[in-house]
């Protein structure tokens, strides 16, 4: 565990910075309807935090925090949740109807379904991009005499 990933300095910095990156991503998502930001950008920032951990600590550490299968499930859950919010509008007549109370301007719980949509999109983008990068990080192209072969390894031990 100790000799995997990058050097101790990188690991220490990543350990300190990671919660702040998550916090920034969450604030981008939650305040998307008040300040610049939203589900897409906040989700990408969240993925960036996990990619930092992936680069600094190696695959095993990150997959223990967020397993790929759970990330796949979260990806589908975010997409289905966004669709559910859209379908919820049929209760009041039309697709994507904003049926929740609008609240007061500059309050967190305002603007009806927009904040829920932002949360669902953020979940979807963050876990989906994480899955894509994780799957790409497990892929290996092996150059042999017959040509280039493809191999995928779930564990770091198989890489050597």
């Amino acid at each position: 565990m100790n000799n995997k990933g990058m050097s101790e300095i990188v690991k220490g910095i990543a350990r300190i910075v990671f919660p702040f990156i998550l916090l920034y991503g969450l604030s981008l998502i939650l305040y998307g309807h008040i300040t610049p930001g939203g589900g897409f950008s906040g989700g990408v920032v969240l993925t960036g935090g996990f990619v930092l951990l992936l680069l600094a600590f190696g695959k095993d550490y990150v997959f223990r925090i967020l397993p790929v299968d759970i990330a796949k499930a979260l990806d589908s859950a975010g997409a289905l949740g966004f669709l559910a919010i859209a379908l919820l509008g049929f209760l009041c007549g039309s697709f994507f109807y904003n049926l929740l109370p609008k609240g007061y301007i500059f309050h967190l719980w305002s603007a009806g379904t927009i904040i829920l949509s932002n949360i669902m999109i953020g979940l979807k983008i963050a876990s989906g991009l994480f899955v894509a990068i994780a799957v790409l990080s497990m892929a290996r192209l092996i150059h042999t005499k017959e040509g280039i072969k493809y191999k995928q390894s779930r564990k770091t031990e198989e890489d050597q």
Binding site: I34, G38, G39, D75, F96, I114, I125, L136, K149, Q152
Partner: protein, 175 residues
């Protein structure tokens, strides 16, 4: 805006035909070319239905996809794609003819400056007052044009599913 319904129906039938041919065609090259035809007709449909921005995006995406797919087919299968010089010259001449016609009569097709086809922008910009959401961009993207955002989410979902399928372990034959 008046819609020419028979023209739309004919274009839609042509597009469906292109899609069916691209699925059923024996040769990869003709399948890609008929997919490009379907995309071109789709962009014309967007233009006729009053969505010029999406039509432009569609044309660009279609051209890039066509180039990528054709170059991939050429690399992987060594298909013969050499054409006689006459075809190239003819295509260039037809394209130049269209370009010149558009350049000389374009001001009759395109609306004058300041009078756009779509006048929804003012309604979008009134969103902070309607929804109590100060960020008008998010209000537009997630409320008024939520259907577009659903499409974007679907695109990302499909792309990630494609990555997972292409880089899978289980069920690969070549190992």
């Amino acid at each position: 805006m008046t819609l020419n319904l028979p023209l739309l129906v004919v274009l839609m039938l042509l597009m469906t035909g292109g899609c069916v041919i691209s699925i059923t065609a024996r040769s990869l090259t003709s399948s890609v070319v008929s997919m490009g035809t379907a995309g071109l007709i789709l962009s014309i449909l967007f233009l006729l239905l009053g969505a010029p921005d999406i039509a432009i995006v569609q044309v660009f995406v279609e051209i890039v996809a066509l180039i990528v797919l054709l170059s991939t087919i050429r690399r992987e299968t060594r298909a013969d794609m050499s054409s006689s010089g006459l075809y190239g010259v003819l295509t260039l001449l037809i394209f130049a003819l269209f370009l010149f016609v558009f350049m000389f009569h374009g001001n009759e097709i395109v609306r004058p400056f300041g009078q756009p086809v779509i006048t929804m922008g003012a309604k979008y910009l009134a969103s902070p007052a309607l929804l109590n959401a100060p960020n008008a961009v998010t209000a537009t993207v997630l409320d008024f044009r939520g259907y577009d955002t659903l499409g974007e989410a679907t695109i990302i979902f499909t792309a990630i599913a494609g990555v997972i399928v292409l880089l899978r372990i289980k069920g690969r034959k070549d190992e």
